[in-house]
């Protein structure tokens, strides 16, 4: 683990700002992480924490203006994606790295047939004609569990259900067998039962194709079931990086701990009210000088309001992989976790 040989994508010190009328918003502020081959990396956080922007920035899809990538590197295949020309970048998009979005209703063009939208990918990246592409498109649709692919190819998005549309999106993203799939809240807009089907499908396809997935979500439940490792984001910065097991067992950032406690549990203490992280996400246009989470943090000490903590390696005796936390009080949080563990049974 942590071996840089296996890393298919490495993000270093990525910063994105938006110049709005209300002032400059640092949506992503010095974020560094990596994705390993074939793994699923979760990226979680509240809305507005910068997780979707990070996702879009990797493929240079930040709308400009108002968005500007300030600094950073996105290393893929020995190249810095942020330095590529638009022309070179286009060869990566949808081919080596592809993306699926939250709302399958709006992510597909309502005026074009499914075939037109799928075949297009093969046309530009594989130089195929529409006729050559069609069987491959049908095969792709079959792979994502669409019952009659041929019929589906000729239909328009509005004729399909939400779950079907998301399957089409996934098929489209996997047509060129990409190394990485960036999934931005792929199940949020779907019904719970459909959500489970789609997640299952993604896990299966990952196994078949060996694609690495970055799963951007606000849903801790989804992360728990899917991800190998998790990045927790808060106010444009990484709060914590850990393996899923470590994070769920022993969160070391107060924010991660808050997020986990806000997930309803089927077993355990059912009498209490559901916990929620107190307060509101901060205004990114005017962040405090110190830790952005300090105003909402029950572990905060005076120093937290002055100095911004950096992401540093933390000692956790039971860790399954390297643990990085941006909190000076991480040890205290860990101690609290361990103290609570016997009562909770440490169930995993």
């Amino acid at each position: 683990m942590g071996d840089s040989e296996n890393r298919v994508l490495e993000v270093k010190d990525l910063s994105v700002r938006f110049d709005t009328h209300q002032g400059t918003v640092r949506a992503v502020d010095g974020v560094s992480f990596y994705i390993e081959e074939g793994e699923t990396l979760g990226l979680v956080g509240e809305s507005g924490s910068g997780k979707s922007v990070t996702n879009l920035a990797l493929l240079g899809l930040i709308p400009n203006p108002p968005g500007v990538i300030d600094s950073g590197q996105v290393l893929f295949d020995g190249k810095d994606l942020l330095k590529l020309s638009i022309h070179e970048m286009r060869k990566i998009r949808g081919n080596r790295i592809s993306m699926i979005f939250q709302d399958p209703m709006t992510s597909l063009n309502p005026l074009l047939t499914i075939e037109q939208q799928l075949a297009e990918v093969l046309e530009i990246h594989r130089g195929m004609s529409r006729r050559e592409a069609r069987p491959l498109c049908a095969k792709g649709l079959g792979e994502v569990g669409i019952p009659s692919p041929e019929k589906c190819l000729d239909s328009y998005p509005h004729e399909l259900s939400g779950g079907m549309r998301q399957r089409v999106m996934i098929a489209m993203a996997l047509l060129c067998d990409p190394k990485i799939l960036l999934a931005d809240e792929p199940t949020t807009a779907l019904d719970v039962t459909i959500q489970a089907q789609i997640l299952e499908l993604m896990a299966k396809l990952q196994k078949d194709h060996g694609t690495a997935i970055m799963l951007v979500t606000h849903d801790m439940g989804v992360v728990a079931g899917q991800a190998d490792r998790v990045n927790v984001m808060y106010a444009g910065r990484l709060a914590e990086t850990a393996s899923t097991k470590d994070l769920f067992d022993r969160p070391m950032h107060p924010y991660s701990k808050g997020l986990l406690e806000s997930v309803p549990r089927l077993f355990g203490d059912a009498s209490g009210e559901l916990f929620s992280v107190p307060g509101q996400p901060p205004d990114l246009a005017s962040l405090p000088a110190g830790c952005a989470f300090a105003p909402r943090c029950s572990y905060a000490v005076d120093a937290c309001t002055n100095t911004r903590p950096e992401l540093t390696v933390q000692i956790d005796a039971n860790a399954t992989s390297e643990r990085l936390v941006a909190c000076t009080e991480a040890a205290r949080v860990l101690a609290a976790d361990l103290a609570a563990e016997p009562a909770d049974g440490g169930a995993s």
Binding site: L56, L59, H87, G94, N95, M99, T106, V121, Y156
Partner: protein, 329 residues
């Protein structure tokens, strides 16, 4: 599809019938007639003329006679066209608009037959200008939004919407006919004669189309499926052509119906300024001269044209937007 067309056709019949009936009785409600103003004609001749065109009949009888297909003129059996008494059937239902009251040697069909191609040519050139200028300006404006060019295009299009077409025409004439002698001043004969009038007629519509296109394109460009298209690796040009244009132009397509009607209307003025012998000129003259049959003929013709083109536009819309069902339209 067939159901839609059938229903459209039924409403078309109703609409045309209303137009015919209303305009027929409107014209005949006025005291006097087409021959009153002719001071040279004496009373006897006037009576003869009236009798020839059945203006001495009660209006309802004239109306039935005008509509056809049965001939109410028992005496001579004279029908409108030619008036030689050879045909038993006639009237509007057989496509016969009758004789012109003023151009006595011509039937309305003759006059329309001569002038309609001119007006259609003018309208086509105008529509061509409107679409060419409007679409390119609108698309560029949307793609370069916020830039100086965008601002310039928006300013020009706002002025274009505000200024009446005859002022545009006068301006164009001063500039391109008198100052730079590029085009003939007026008249009819070649495509060169249609260049300026077409531009003047299409100009305001180009301005409107530019605005519609800009708004439509901006709306579409902010949609998530455009982001998907970029994420697939499409070039910006392809994203624009394949994914944005179709949706962005839908509002323009639905404007084409009103635009055709507007261009037909506007041609009344433009034909007058440029002295083009089109249908519009005939209509204005016939309305002023109380040339009943000619005015009616042009009105019916334009109703049919507007209705037909509107139906075509609606059909085109449903082909472009698969979400719209004809049955619901």
């Amino acid at each position: 599809m067939t159901g839609f067309l059938l229903r459209r056709f039924c409403w078309f019949l109703v609409t045309t019938w209303i137009v015919i009936t209303v305009s027929f009785f409107l014209m005949r409600a006025v005291p006097g007639g087409p021959f009153d103003t002719d001071r040279t004609v004496n009373a006897a001749i006037e009576r003869n003329m009236k009798a020839r065109y059945h203006l001495d009949w009660p209006s309802w009888k004239q109306y039935v006679h005008y509509l056809g297909p049965f001939n109410l003129d028992e005496e001579t059996g004279a029908r409108f066209a030619g008036g030689d008494g050879s045909a038993t059937f006639g009237g509007l239902l057989t496509g016969d608009f009758g004789p012109s009251f003023k151009y006595r040697d011509f039937s309305v069909n003759d006059i329309i037959g001569q002038s309609l191609p001119i007006s259609v040519a003018l309208g086509t050139v105008a529509m061509f200008w409107a679409l060419l200028l409007g679409l390119s300006a609108g698309i560029l404006s949307a793609v370069w939004r916020g830039s100086t060019s965008d601002l310039g295009i928006r300013l020009v299009s706002t002025i274009g919407i505000a200024v009446p077409n005859f002022i545009v025409a006068l301006f164009l004439i001063t500039l391109f006919v008198f100052k730079i002698e590029l085009f003939p001043v007026a008249g009819w004969g070649s495509l060169r004669h249609l260049f300026l009038p077409g531009l003047a007629l299409g100009g305001p519509f180009a301005a409107y189309i530019a605005r519609l296109t800009r708004t439509g394109m901006l709306e579409v460009l902010s949609q998530e499926y455009i982001r998907t298209a970029h994420a697939k690796g499409l070039s910006p040009a392809k994203v624009l052509m394949r994914h944005a244009l179709k949706g962005g132009l839908l509002p323009v397509v639905s404007f084409l119906g009103p635009a055709t009607a507007g261009i037909l209307t506007g041609s009344l003025v433009i034909e007058k300024i440029f002295a083009i012998p089109g249908t519009g000129t005939h209509f204005v003259n016939s309305a002023l001269n109380r040339d009943y049959t000619l005015a009616m003929g042009v009105t019916i013709l334009y109703t049919v044209l507007v209705y037909g083109l509107n139906t075509i536009v609606d059909l085109a819309y449903t082909f472009l937007d698969p979400r719209i069902k004809l049955e619901e339209a």
